[in-house]
Amino acid sequence: MTRKVRVVIAKLGLDIHWRGVYLVSQFLKDAGMEVVYLGNQFPEQIVEAALEEDADIVGLSSLSGNHMTLGPKVVRMLGEKGLDHVKVYMGGVMAPDDAAALETEHGIHKVFLPDTPMAKIVEHMYASVGIPRPQPQA
């Protein structure tokens, strides 16, 4: 039996909008992933949790403009802990140019902007980790 994909997911810093990120964590659980939702956290604590939970994926939510500073900071700090294999996903409200720059210049594996169907996020995460999605129980 294959193991579950492990995801650590957090709201970045002081951002207060928890609706979207909490929903994503619920839908990832529904899709058979092991999800640790940290609530609001700063980069140091997020990286620590990724280490402790042996995460495959770190998911970060930002709807308040801190994506360009704190997102890359998480990637950098993961690298410093030897966690380069952890894939960092981001989601939230941001300019399309910023989203592109996060992916191409700052080591964010994938940014999902508003209106992304949950199914697309699930599918992308399973493909990037390379663990097959468990078949729903009949």
Binding site: R19, G39, D115
Partner: protein, 566 residues
């Protein structure tokens, strides 16, 4: 209501309609239409029939149930002449960068006909941190303006007469409402404007502090509620034209509730506040006239209009029957409206101009006192100047070109709207009763009930979008074959951190550190007393204590509360 009903329709007329309606349903209506009857509901779950008739509102007593505008039960509006007398205030939000940047945006909106100011803060300010605190990294001046000290409020309103403008200060949390409006009052005093002439509103809602936003550090519900009541009590006694609380259904709705819960929770908070202030020795009519509300106008057009009308009715009933209020102003519910940001997708963003205009139209048909129409670029950033101007112009079009402001409550008498208004009234009343059964709103929040409600609502709603049951045009319904957008012009926040940091350094050099320490020590001490904290926070800001320093005292003395969901 104990008075005997005097129904508008006579019994035999209703019987005739019911008979004819049944016949019409069986003989004139097609089989396909008959088959789907019973499957339509409003967003909050009220059954919607294909056709409404007088039979659906057969008990309607015009005088008792609707009345005249400016008279009980205020369903038709809070003022006798409504918009002929006073147009709804065009109150667009302005909040970005440093206070100096915001000052320019405020003047821009005032120069283009805005009649009120609505200022919004960045997250470090909202959550009570200084711009140079490590927690603030990445958020300074984004999504709102930074405020660290009384100097910033002065800069916000440079060349603006605080005795003339009506200002809404969007301090979400009680813990910052006891500080930032205090800075505003202190600036007014320094400029020689008496507090009797200072007008405006602050938000001050403990639900914002404990449920709507999540945060690494939040105050416990009881402490946040105490600060909320301190703010209301002190402002009612000292700044008579200021609305010390705006019960924020809006952000709660955006976080995830339906229209019924939005209103029920806001009114339950008002009930809790009233009970506490009465316990402190005030009379209901000392403070109820200054309470205001803030609604979110979502997509379900008629339900939202019915919500506005019903909320006034429920409020009137609670004020008279439960609290025995006598002052006419205590009985009428005034509310600000913002259109629903949560309904605005990033896909094909110009469509949002249409969505927001329809929601704004519903707000005016619902009789709002002031309005903010969201901008089309909501899902990308704070609005650009161009986007903000379109929102302002949308309001002006509703006010001057549609003709709907010339008569009061024009949808009254619509069988559907009156049916919905009655349904909303009943459902809001029942939801308030449910919160009472949980021991009141503070206890309900402490138990985690509201967090679970929000989470369950969101999950269900998102599922309905995923399955396509809820349709979003251009997103999951008729999506464009290739992405039409996007060369959207996105607002770039001006660099703020270094400017605020330099200002804080100068402030720390110029102030008397001993006085600041003394002021903070007094606040620390008074946190554990029954005394109102407002006089002490005002003294602290006058002596140049920063927002972050005062909030740190609250965090240390009241302790922190874990978000009760995970």
């Amino acid at each position: 209501m104990s008075a005997k009903k005097n129904p508008l329709f006579n019994e035999s007329g209703i019987q005739q309609i019911e008979t004819d309606h049944a016949a019409w349903f069986e003989t004139t209506l097609g089989q396909a239409d008959r088959a789907v009857e019973g499957r339509f509901f409003t967003h909050s779950g009220i059954p919607v029939k294909l056709l409404f008739t007088p039979a659906d509102i057969k008990d309607l007593d015009y005088t008792q149930d609707l009345g005249f505008p400016g008279q009980a039960p205020f369903v038709r509006g809070v003022y006798p002449n409504m918009y002929r007398g006073r147009l709804f205030t065009v109150r667009q939000l302005a909040g970005l960068g440093a206070p100096e940047d915001c000052n320019l945006r405020i003047k821009y909106l005032l120069d283009h006909g805005a009649t009120g100011v609505n200022i919004l803060f960045d997250l470090p300010t909202i959550r009570g941190y200084n711009s140079d605190d490590p927690e603030a990294e990445g958020n300074v001046g984004a999504c709102g303006a930074a405020v660290d000290s009384i100097w910033d409020i002065d800069a916000f309103f440079k060349d603006i007469d605080l005795g003339k403008v009506s200002t809404s200060i969007v301090t979400h949390l009680p813990s910052t409402s006891i500080v930032i409006p205090g800075m505003y009052f202190a600036v007014a005093e320094q400029r020689g404007t008496p507090w009797s002439r200072v007008a405006g509103t602050c938000q001050n809602d403990f639900i914002m502090e404990t449920c709507v936003g999540s945060a690494p550090e939040i105050l416990p519900p009881a402490a946040s509620f105490r600060l909320q009541c301190d703010v209301v009590e002190w402002i009612c006694k000292n700044v008579p034209r200021w609305n010390p609380i705006s019960y924020n259904g809006y952000n709660l709705r955006e976080a995830g509730t339906d229209a019924v819960q939005e209103v029920a929770i806001a009114i339950s908070n008002a009930i809790a506040t009233a009970e506490e202030l009465i316990r402190r020795g005030m009379h209901i009519d000392d403070f109820a006239p200054r309470m205001s509300f803030f609604w979110d106008l979502h997509n379900d057009f008629f339900e939202e209009i019915a919500k506005c009308r019903a909320s006034r009715k429920v409020w009137h009933r609670i004020m008279t029957e439960r609290f025995g209020a006598k002052n006419q102003k205590s009985l009428l519910m005034r509310f600000h409206v913002q259109t629903a940001g949560v309904t605005l997708p990033a896909t094909e963003p110009y469509n949002n101009i249409a969505r927001s205009a329809l929601q704004g139209l519903a707000a005016v048909l619902g009789g709002c006192q002031s309005l903010h129409i969201d901008s089309y670029d909501e899902a990308y950033s704070a609005p650009t100047e161009e986007a903000a101007l379109i929102s302002l112009r949308t309001q002006q079009i509703i006010q001057t070109e549609t003709g709907i402001v010339n008569t009061v409550d024009p949808l009254a008498g619509s069988y559907y709207v009156e049916y919905l208004t009655d349904q909303m009234t009943q459902r809001i009343t029942a939801a308030i009763g449910q919160i009472e059964d949980l021991g009141g709103l503070v206890k309900a929040v402490e138990s985690g009930w509201l967090h679970r409600e929000i989470s369950a609502y969101n999950y269900k709603y998102q599922r309905s979008i995923e399955t396509g049951e809820t349709k979003v045009v251009g997103v999951n319904y008729q999506p464009a074959e290739k992405e039409a957008c996007c060369s959207i012009d996105v607002f770039k926040y001006p660099e703020t951190y270094t400017r605020q940091k330099a200002k804080l350094e100068r402030l720390r050099g110029e102030r008397d550190p001993r006085k600041v320490r003394e002021c903070l020590a007094v606040i620390r001490d008074k946190c554990h007393s029954d005394e109102n904290l407002y006089p002490y926070t005002i003294a602290a800001v006058k002596n140049l204590a920063t927002l972050g320093e005062i909030e740190e005292v609250f965090r240390e003395e009241f302790g922190l509360w874990a978000f009760p969901l995970y």
